[in-house]
Symmetry: C2
Subunit: 337 residues, 2 copies
């Protein structure tokens, strides 16, 4: 049995879609227990009349909500009774194995570090979303809030990302690459040049060298290592270019009567193919290296993504990801000695 705390108040469609996602997960698998964290009366209203296992969905009352625009550090410090702080405290106290939130990214990142806390030896917990590629998905690590990373951080990202892709996503011997501006070893900025030989020396990962941004959508690597500023640019540009192109395609189809008729005919097939270019079916982005698991889902998550994020937590626990991360850090320490 695994216990997942879910932020019932965070996200564009909270509380309804968060609660619906929790119900779906609990109905789908008997080994899941969900704690919905948020305003009791709001959550109860959403639950009322729904068909779900009453013994496996509980409520943890939290009177406050952290808004997306609030400065995260301040919000975490002051709103002690917010759904994010209460939910993370459940993980900290061992009363939940994981916490899933579609709320403020900043607050989730700060709370993860400050409340849940890092595994001993982890220098910086990276946020690692899955991005869609031609071949499936890749893990983009780090897209967190801490920029200006050091080479040792990137090496830990590579190790943690590799463990996640192998054991949660089931990719055998995942290809790990570092984002660079050319394929050659001598290319790159100071950070990449310093990190490259360190990654090459890692015996526990399948490091394949540099990856140019052009190759990322083609699925050129399973684990894409970069510091958070670059990761953020990649993640957001992915969304931006995708949205713009799809709207161009739609507009193009609406320009003439002929094309409008054509659009009706291609639409169902197109929808199906483009669905494969949407990573939300895989769940949310884990914040790795914490004593417990924190998963950040998109702000616009609906029930399906919330449900998938909860199930993702089960695999994370079952596969003993944190134990494997601890093991990998001990290899690191041995190598340094």
């Amino acid at each position: 049995m695994i216990k997942v705390a879910v932020d019932a108040m965070g996200g564009d469609y909270a509380p309804s879609q968060m609660v619906a996602g929790a119900i779906a997960a609990a109905n789908l698998r008997k080994d899941i227990q969900v704690v919905l964290v948020g305003r009791k009366e709001d959550v109860e209203k959403e639950l009322s009349g729904k068909d779900y296992p009453h013994d496996r969905i509980q409520i943890a009352h939290a009177s406050e909500v952290i808004a997306t625009e609030e400065p995260p550090v301040n919000a975490i410090r002051k709103k002690k009774d917010s759904s994010i702080v209460v939910g993370m405290n459940l993980v900290k106290k061992g009363e939940a194995d994981a916490f899933v939130s579609a709320g403020s990214s900043g607050a989730v990142l700060v709370g993860g570090q400050v409340i849940v806390g890092r595994i001993k030896g982890v220098e910086r917990p990276p946020l690692a979303p899955l991005i869609p590629t031609e071949k499936g998905v890749s893990l983009l690590i780090d897209c967190g809030a801490n920029v200006d990373a050091r080479p040792s951080h990137l090496v830990q990202f590579a190790r943690m990302g590799s463990i996640y892709m192998e054991h949660v996503m089931g990719v055998k011997n995942p290809r790990v690459a570092i984002v660079n501006i050319g394929a050659e070893e001598e290319k790159g900025n100071a950070l990449v040049k310093e990190t490259f030989p360190l990654l090459k020396a890692c015996t526990d990962i399948n490091f394949t060298g540099s990856i140019e941004a052009r190759e990322i959508p083609h699925g050129g690597a399973d684990v894409i290592v970069c510091e958070a500023f670059v990761g953020n640019v990649i993640l957001k540009l992915y969304e931006g270019v995708g949205a713009t192109l799809i709207s161009k395609v739609k507009a193009g189809m609406m320009t003439s009567l002929k094309s409008k008729i054509g659009a009706l005919l291609v639409k169902p097939a197109l929808k199906e193919t483009l669905k494969s270019f949407d990573a939300s079916q895989y769940g949310g982005a884990p914040l790795l290296g914490l004593k417990g698991l924190v998963v950040k889902t998109h702000g616009n998550s609906k029930a399906n993504e919330v449900c998938n994020s909860i199930i993702q937590c089960v695999t994370f626990k079952e596969q003993g990801i944190n134990e494997k991360i601890k093991e990998s850090l001990s290899i690191e320490t041995q190598e340094q000695n």
Copy 2:
């Protein structure tokens, strides 16, 4: 009359498409003189039988070619009789106003700095391609080879980019923004945080603040300032995501008989709309801040893009861009005193 040297040997479709582009430009405008730089016999073969003004297309013989995979610094130093070195020397000696090449990016960047040379006061010449957006195009500055820029470089990029967009592209009072991971002033890595107040203090540009990568394809700014590593990631990811999505759309249309018929009907309209998401119609990427103009066009440029790049050089010269850059640097010096 403006004289443009064209690298006849660089690019995937050299020499035929380079020569065809030069002919098109010379036929289009009477104020253009082209010097085709490359192996005389190859260029003559391409010219033979074509209809063009013989007095306005010359050949400058160059016996060598720099290949894309050659280490640039070495290639520029050793291949003294390569089309890139010979062409750039024409600009240096004042025998040509500009040089256009679809050849090795690295060699063009190195040659620009080493042979043509920087305008006094320019700390680093940025490569500034145009990228397509929903609203038209934006200038992405810098995508060059020199990474780990300093704040003062970024400020010069902003100034030069603003001048280019206003006077070559005709965008009145162009919006200048810096690539960042959030819209707030306190966000960013060390470089962005240091650069932000410097840009805010510039009285000669229309600085609008930070731009998140998501907003770039929506046309959120006219001049997008970043250091070269991030610029390279943006440029290449743009291409990668675009190519992947278009291939997904095409594959989707081919999944059933119904969708195949639909595809036939939407294809012409779609082609037209997607053409607007292709920046090559505007010419190549200028390497700004040099004593003369160097334009790098895509390696896969065909005649049309080469022709547009040559015409772009005319506007550059007519508008006195380098004089305006020098003026802007003198404002900078005054502000510092």
